[in-house]
């Protein structure tokens, strides 16, 4: 019983980590809390759904399609809204506000166009069976989520710490002006970050959409609350922290629902977030940036 709970918690945590991965990347490299992130999550799920349902594509085609759509949307929105603010060196709250307006606009348009009813992936998109690990039962969607999260976390880590692109991204995160003096094209790096974050959001949308099998325009908005909790608990822009925080949050939610009351579950993220703000505002891992006057 406990083992199953723990496994469920870890799977849920993996979805949160997966969701927060791209968000953290945006916060870390672009230095902006981009509230439209949840929209890319929704968009990925909706596009993949349309691919499966209306075009009859297999999941293995629909998934990259959803990821690509989300990535492109992220690039377009960032270029249209945030690039001008970056150029004008506007304060960080201005960027936050612009994405806030944008996300309301985007969701409103989406729900006017599609309605707010819940849509589902057709039966048979995923194999129906399940795997038993001792007493723990894992469904196909859950396994897919855990595996994808592992692959993406590892991939992102390798990208950031082992490649030239990753080095350039870290340089841009730290000081865009100095990075451009190193012959790094800052606009291109910003685009790469947006694309990558959008793709990660899209992947999360498709997989989490499959797992919950309830897709509607505001699903990203609901998920954002967890996203905020994860980036605060993990420390703003800290990829490792985000993964740890996602897992902690998932396990805490499942345990709270199992041992206290299922109603409590939705309050866990917020409670943990406020607790961390009280006790360890730099995040659980608390890795402050190295700077010097």
């Amino acid at each position: 019983m406990f083992a199953q709970q723990l496994a469920n918690g870890l799977v849920l945590g993996a979805t949160y980590a997966l969701f927060a991965l791209g968000f953290t990347l945006m916060v870390g490299v672009l230095r902006v809390i981009n509230l439209t992130y949840g929209f890319y999550f929704t968009l990925g799920a909706l596009v993949a759904l349309a691919g499966c349902r209306d075009l009859g594509l297999s999941l293995w085609l629909a998934l990259p399609l959803g990821m690509l759509a989300a990535g492109l949307a992220a690039v377009i929105i960032d270029t249209a809204l945030l690039t001008p603010l970056r150029r004008a060196r506007a304060p960080e709250l201005a960027s936050l506000m612009v994405t806030l307006g944008a996300v309301l606009l985007l969701y409103s348009v989406l729900s006017m166009g599609l309605g707010t009813e819940i849509r589902r992936f057709p039966l048979g998109t995923l194999p129906a069976g399940a795997v038993m690990l001792g007493e723990v039962r894992l469904g196909a969607a859950q396994i897919l989520i855990v595996v994808t999260t592992l692959v993406m976390v590892l991939g992102l880590w390798v990208l950031l710490s082992r490649t030239r692109l990753g080095l350039a991204l870290r340089a841009v995160a730290e000081n865009p002006d100095a990075a451009s003096l190193m012959a790094i094209s800052v606009p291109r790096m910003v685009m790469a970050t947006s694309l990558l974050s959008g793709v990660l959001a899209g992947a999360a949308g498709v997989l989490i959409g499959l797992n919950q099998n309830a897709i509607q325009p505001y699903m990203g908005e609901t998920m954002m609350l967890r996203g905020f909790a994860v980036i605060i608990i993990g420390g703003l822009g800290d990829v490792r922290g985000a993964v740890a925080a996602g897992l902690v949050l998932g396990v805490a939610e499942v345990m709270a629902a199992g041992y206290i009351d299922s109603m409590v579950k939705d309050g866990v993220a917020f409670t943990l977030m406020v607790l961390v703000l009280w006790l360890k505002p730099a995040g659980l891992l608390g890795r402050a940036r190295v700077t010097r006057a």
Binding site: L85, G101, V103, L104, L105, A269, V274, W278, P281
Partner: protein, 282 residues
């Protein structure tokens, strides 16, 4: 009262009420923005005030003044819980924590019995007279204006410019952050109670994300040069959908668009002029 005025008030009562209430909400947003912070919890504070006020009116025989006071106190407590830990951090943290507050309160409203669940609360007595709303708005505007023109307003403007430098000249920055957040929660709570007692029906959806963004759009459109800006912003954004009926159905799109356009192209809003405090003495 002349008959025509009575007629006018009767016909447009709902509109006048929402103008006054939205003006108060815009002021509550202004108070936070004026110290260089951003709260996305104004709708949550408003909702807390609305539910507190409605429940007090439905279950106790308290006079309306005390009901309003109660609706100010409860959001203030919530604001303290969320605001205290973020006071020493950058504005981004308060914004995130307050978005979270709105979502959590929504879950509570929907699940709790006393709040009427997802259906909401009905049958709230219509105790918000027009004059009460307008008097409270005028009082709040006057008070915020006078404080803004005083040494406190100057300290707030200094914090907006450079928080560290303001602290070094003796401004108690965390105290100002907290004070502003609490005052804004109280204003939003009162506005919420007034709206509950004006519409007589409330539901959790009234205080969701969209409401939070709408309140922010008032302040952004008006600009925060002076407290008049947000109030005028609220006026414009409340009247426009009335005048242009089609806008009514596209409110989300419209308010979102307003924020995007104003931040990008008119960062100081439509009333950008700052308050003058000191003139050079002759």
């Amino acid at each position: 009262m002349p008959i025509w005025l009575d007629d006018f008030l009767w016909t447009y009562q709902t509109l006048i009420h929402s103008l006054g209430i939205n003006g108060l909400l815009a002021l509550s947003m202004y108070v936070v923005l004026a110290v260089g912070q951003l709260s996305l919890g104004q709708a949550a504070f408003m909702g807390l005030g609305a539910y507190t006020g409605a429940l007090l009116s439905l279950h106790t025989g308290l006079p309306f003044a005390l009901v309003l006071a109660g609706s100010a106190v409860v959001p203030v407590l919530a604001a303290a819980a969320v605001g205290l830990p973020t006071l020493r951090l950058t504005g981004v943290y308060l914004a995130i924590a307050t978005i979270g507050l709105g979502e959590v309160l929504r879950v509570i409203y929907v699940n709790a019995e006393i709040t009427g669940g997802a259906l909401g609360l009905g049958g709230i007595p219509g105790r918000s007279a027009t004059w009460i709303i307008l008097l409270l708005l005028a009082g709040a505007l006057g008070g915020v204006w006078l404080v803004g023109r005083s040494r406190f307003g100057r300290a707030m403007e200094a914090m907006r410019g450079d928080q560290t430098a303001a602290a070094v000249i003796g401004v108690n920055v965390p105290a100002y952050h907290l004070g502003a957040l609490l005052a804004s929660a109280a204003l939003a709570g009162v506005a919420g109670a007034l709206s509950a007692h004006s519409s007589t029906f409330i539901s959790p959806d009234d205080y969701a994300f969209e409401a939070a963004v709408t309140i922010l759009s008032f302040a952004i459109l008006g600009g925060i040069g002076s407290p008049l800006g947000p109030v005028v912003g609220a006026l414009v954004l409340t009247l426009l959908p009335e005048l242009l009926r089609p806008l009514h159905d596209f409110r989300g799109v419209f308010n979102g668009l307003i924020i995007v356009l104003v931040v990008l192209f008119l960062p100081r809003g439509i009333l950008p002029w700052p308050m003058t405090r000191l003139r050079k003495p002759l």
